[in-house]
Structure formats: C-alpha cells, structure tokens
Symmetry: C2
Subunit: 376 residues, 2 copies
C-alpha cells in the first residue's frame, strides 16, 4: 500500500529517517563513552524503543507510569521514571519492580523522600533514586549549590529501604535558544551543574554512580560530556519543526508527518481546508519561536518535498486552514481530496493524539503499523 | 470512592452540572420550537449523548466518522457529519447507512458534489446533504449571497443519488467576542446569513427542510431563532474557561475538571509542580483572550472552590507549573501529594487526551466511569 491510499488524518513515520536518527545518536553517545537512556515519552512505542536502544543497554526513560508498564510488558528491564515521584504512586512502582523491571525514581525534596521511605517500609519494597538538579530549566530539581541537596541525599542514603544512585537533570532551557553556539552554552550549563552536584555528593561521602543529563538539543550540540554517565534525549528519534528552528536537526532528519486530505477551498478568505486540525496536529506552537510563517506546521506533497510558504495558519478541532505566506494560494494545484503531509511543530504532542504509527519507506510504501501507548 | 482516592491525572465530570447544562439547553430549544442536534465532538461519549438528547429526537452532530461509527453502534440513528465530506470517505458513510444510521453530510463546492455523486452511483447508495454557509466564521462554507450557492444546490438536487436537505452554518466568530450583547450580534449574523441562504434556495424552487445553525455562545445568547429548524451547540454540556470568558456560562456551569497531584515545590522559582501538563490539559490557550492570569487553567481544591489567583502558568509534557497571580505562593498550603482540580481552557481539547470520564456528584463521590471515543 502507498501513502496515497491511506485514510486521513494519519500519523506517518519514515522508517529510514528514524533509523538514521537513532544510529547517529547511538554513535555519538558511544564515541563519548556514555550510556544512552532514550526518553520514550516522544514515541511511546516498543518498536521505536528497539531502534533507540540498539547497541546500548536497553535502558530507557519514561514520563508516566503507564509508559513504564507498557515498556515493562515489552521486556524492558531498566526504566527511569523521570518525573518527581510521590508516595501515592508507590504501589504502582512496587508492582513494576515485582514484575522484574528495575525502576529508577526521581526526588528533590525531604518531604517526598520521607513519604516514600515510609511507603517502601510498609510495602516491604525498596526504591532507587536519582536526585533532580535544576541546571537552568527552572522546572523541577534543586539548584546544584542548594544547601538542601546534601540533606535530601542523606535522607535517601540513610533510609534502609531507599538507595541513592546519583543525580539527573534536564536542560529545558535549551528549547529557548537557537543555533549551535548557544546550544553548546546550555549543554555546558547542564553538564557543569550536574557534575558540580555529583561532586558535592561524593565529597560528602555519598554514592553517585549515575550522572544523567540530556535533552535532544544538548545531546546533539554538547562539546563536553565528561563527568556524565548517561544522556536521555527523546525527540531526536522523530525530530520536528521546533528542533529544526532551534538548530538541533536538519530538514531531512524529520521522520514524523501527518497525512491529511484537502477537504475544501475557501476562495473568499483564501484558505485551503484540510482534515487535520487541533486534535490531529495539537495546539503546540513552539516552532513559532524561531521560524516564520510556521503556524501549526509546514506542508509538503506526498513525496515529502516542502511546498515552500504553505503553512497551517489556523486550526479548529478537525479543520486546518492553510495559507501561502506572502502570496495567494493557487487552489487549482490542490483539488478536493489531494493528500498533503503536515510537518508538526512538536512531535511529542502531535503523536499523542494517535493510537499508532503508519510506518513507511522513502518511496512512500507502507511497511508497517506500530502501536503506541497513551494516557496515564 | 471519593475524588481524593483517584489516580492522577484524571478527567472529572460533575454529573449534576452536566445534567443542568443539558436540561437548560433542551428547554431553551424547546421554547424556541427548534430541534436540538447537540455536537458530540466535545464529549464523544454515548452516556453524555443520552443526557444531551433527552426529550429531543436523538439526532446528533459529529466531527469525525470515528464518532459516527461509535454513536451508530450506541444506537443513534440520525447523525450530521459536520465537516466537509470528500469522495474518499464514501464507503465509510455507505457502511454507516447500511447499518441503519441516517447520515447527513456537508458540502460547499461543485467539485466535491460531483465526486460524491459519482461515488454514490458506483457504490449504489444515496447521500443526503446540507450546504455549508459561511456566516462570518471564515472557515468552510459559501457566503449566503455567493453565486455558486444555487449552482451547488442544483448540482445536489439534480443528481439522482444525492438529496438536498437544507443548509447549515457554524458561527465560529462567536468565540472572538465577549459579553451577551456582542454574542447576540454574532448570533443574529449566524441566523440571518443562514435564513437568507435558505430563502435563496426556496425561491429557486430547491428544497430546504433543514436550517441548522449553532454554537454554544450563539445558542445561549440568541434573541431571535426564527427561520432556523435546529441548533448544534456542543461544549455547553461541559463548558470551560473559554466559554466563561466569552460570557456564555457562569462559573457554576463548569462540569469538567482535571484532577492532579502536587508533585513538587520549586522554591527558588516560586512554582508549584503538578502532574498535569501539556498532555493532560492540552496546549489550548483560548481562554487567554478574555481572562487574565489564566494560562492553561485555573485551580481549585477538591471541593471545586476556586483558589483565587492560582493558575497553571506553564506546561511541559507531564509537568504543570502553578503560580499565584500578583503574589507569592504559600507552599505550606500544598504539601506533596495534595490533590487539586484544574479547570481547563477548552473542554473539547482537554477531554481528547483521556479514554473516559470519572463521573462524580456534588459531594465528590465517584458515581461512574464513562468511556469516550478518540481518533479517526
């Protein structure tokens, strides 16, 4: 079957590009002597995990315990749940551990650690932790020089049911800068903040085997990776317009697109209507930061060749309105039923609307259907 | 079970508020002598459809053929698929019709109609149409005075396999104004544009039994509804902060919220972290048009009482960052694990991330789990 024969909207994944993206990151991490623990929150697919972990230990990162259960059932045995753990989720983690999956958890406060120690005791289980460090992203985590860092580390280390494995960070602020030289600065902030924190733990006689950093932009751009033991990039498996705008990938590295159909011509407003709207694309507008005339995505023909200037200006729930930047749209090029591909701003958000991927080769032949998990 | 015992994030639906919203709209349409054809794209739930269609004919509106199949299987027999129909979807509609479901389709071009007539002929089926009118929303549809209107109508009427049933419109621009007096103006634009179009068809000797308008704001605010035969509001079943900002509902009319847990305190940035982020809430920011300090939603305690000034300023995929407008957040009020409710900007987009609803009463007792459909 060819892409042209598919129902729309449809989430397309180019297998060759996925493979190349995964191999490139794998090689980069191997050259640096680091473990690769890819963040599967983007793809949420065991097939993609196979590509992303090939040649490495098979360890992954997840953002929900639903993902952890899904990947555990797929046979993955080393999972970092990279969102602040709370005591109320203890039984879910215990069940995962009981099924043979090693779970690595994240904490950044005495309060959470105390509650989790109590839970581990009452559930007769053990929990392993990384302490989250804020390397500049301003989301979760302690600053590397925060006085509480050693208190949290000691609280974990001294609780018989808890084990301190190291530190982790995510430089979310890498998404706010553009170009390799700026990305390198952020990558170095990420690395040095984390290495500083690890150093503080070790100087205090506390264990710190794992020093885990990473986002796609910092993993791609970092000059120095010394002191880290692993990286956790995620969106690099697919890439998207946001990554393109930031400068962490090239156009030919984009693996994910949304197949849509032209459903109407609004000649009095000049908009081409397609059946990919806010649900099929998501309402993420992150790529607007660094790209002009991007809206909710750029548009290509079925062959993947960009139709320069055509973009999704507006979305309603099931309608996308396409316009031609700086000019009039030639409706005769796009009869009703024409199939187009939209290249989304943010692959993680777009993919979440779908039950799976229609996998295709570079010729546009469908070669598989891969499932993904969603929800919590 | 009480809301406090649920896993998070969790999509909560207040049954009493849903019931009141549905009864109010039903009564309003009955008083106006109009049929109510609720748009089920918001709820995508057969349970909600039961509330929304009670006392009416059971007709509904959908935005995808997946919804049409889902509601057809639930026994609904009169479905308007309110997105421009294309020839490639003919077999799917034929299958629905073969299962006993009456399908009403939408077209606004000779090109689509010609393709659909050809498909109907080759599939040995019949298709029924409303012509879409653009009453000011600028999405799909012909302007009421467009010369093509009569051509499209005749093309449908004269094709033996097609049947012209009337006209429809959706005043999407009602979402761009605030307050009852402005909403009434838009409602009157919607009504008069559609009635004008219907008049043109009838004067040309063409059938126009159905004159179908509606959005929640126009259905709530319209002074005049004469000339219309039915309305298709959708989000009124749940309401949301966008509708609150527009002025089409009151705070106590909001039925949908997202239960989340406090997962961290970022004291150095002043943000409270919860486990409802961009996926659990959607990245829709529509309510920002008319509400201050709304971000991705307002926040209440478990009892539904608004925590004034607390809002979701930032979302990452699974993290929400809450701030206190115009002041510092008192972290001691929100220990790790505290459950909060977030009132989303746009119910249609938020609900789409979930497999179903946790239904509760006004006391916060869980009284049911309702499934919904998603995808295409």
């Amino acid at each position: 079957m060819h892409l042209d024969e598919l129902k729309t909207p449809n989430l397309l994944l180019n297998e060759g590009v996925l493979r190349r993206n995964c191999e490139r990151m794998s090689q980069r991490m191997k050259r640096a002597g680091l473990a690769l623990r890819p963040h599967m929150k983007t793809a949420k697919s065991s097939d993609v995990a196979g590509y992303a972990t090939a040649g490495h230990t098979g360890a992954i990162t997840v953002s929900t315990l639903d993902e952890a259960r899904y990947f555990s059932q797929a046979g993955i045995r080393d999972i970092l749940y990279a969102v602040s753990m709370i005591p109320a989720r203890s039984e879910e983690v215990m069940a995962l551990q009981a099924s043979g999956t090693g779970m690595l958890l994240v904490a950044d406060s005495i309060e959470a650690v105390a509650g989790l120690a109590e839970q581990a005791l009452s559930l007769e289980t053990r929990f392993q932790f990384l302490i989250e460090i804020d390397s500049g992203g301003g989301r979760a985590g302690l600053l590397p020089d925060a006085p509480e860092l050693l208190n949290v580390a000691r609280a974990i280390h001294e609780a018989p049911e808890l084990e301190l494995k190291g530190v982790m960070t995510h430089a979310g602020h890498a998404y706010e800068v553009q170009g390799f030289s700026r990305l390198r600065e952020v990558a170095e902030q990420e690395r040095s903040a984390l290495v500083d924190a690890a150093q503080r733990l070790r100087e205090a006689g506390l264990p710190c085997d794992i020093v885990s950093a990473g986002s796609t932009p910092t993993a791609v751009a970092a000059e120095r990776l010394d002191g880290l033991t692993e990286m956790r990039p995620g969106v690099y498996v697919f890439n998207d317009l946001d990554q393109l705008g930031i400068g962490s990938c090239q156009w030919e590295d984009l693996a994910l697109s949304v197949l849509c159909s032209v459903i109407g011509h609004n000649r009095h407003t000049g908009a081409l209507l397609v059946d990919a709207g806010g649900l099929a694309l998501s309402k993420d507008v992150s790529a607007k930061r660094f790209l002009d005339d991007v809206g909710y995505g750029w548009v290509s023909g079925l062959n993947g060749k960009l139709l320069e200037g055509l973009f999704v200006e507006t979305v309603h729930q099931e309608h996308g309105l396409l316009r031609q930047a700086g000019g009039d749209l030639d409706f005769t090029r796009f009869p009703i039923g024409t199939k187009l591909r939209i290249w989304p701003n943010h692959a993680c958000m777009t993919a979440a609307a779908y039950q799976g991927y229609t996998v295709h080769d570079s010729e546009g032949t469908v070669i598989g259907q891969w499932q993904r998990t969603n929800g919590w």
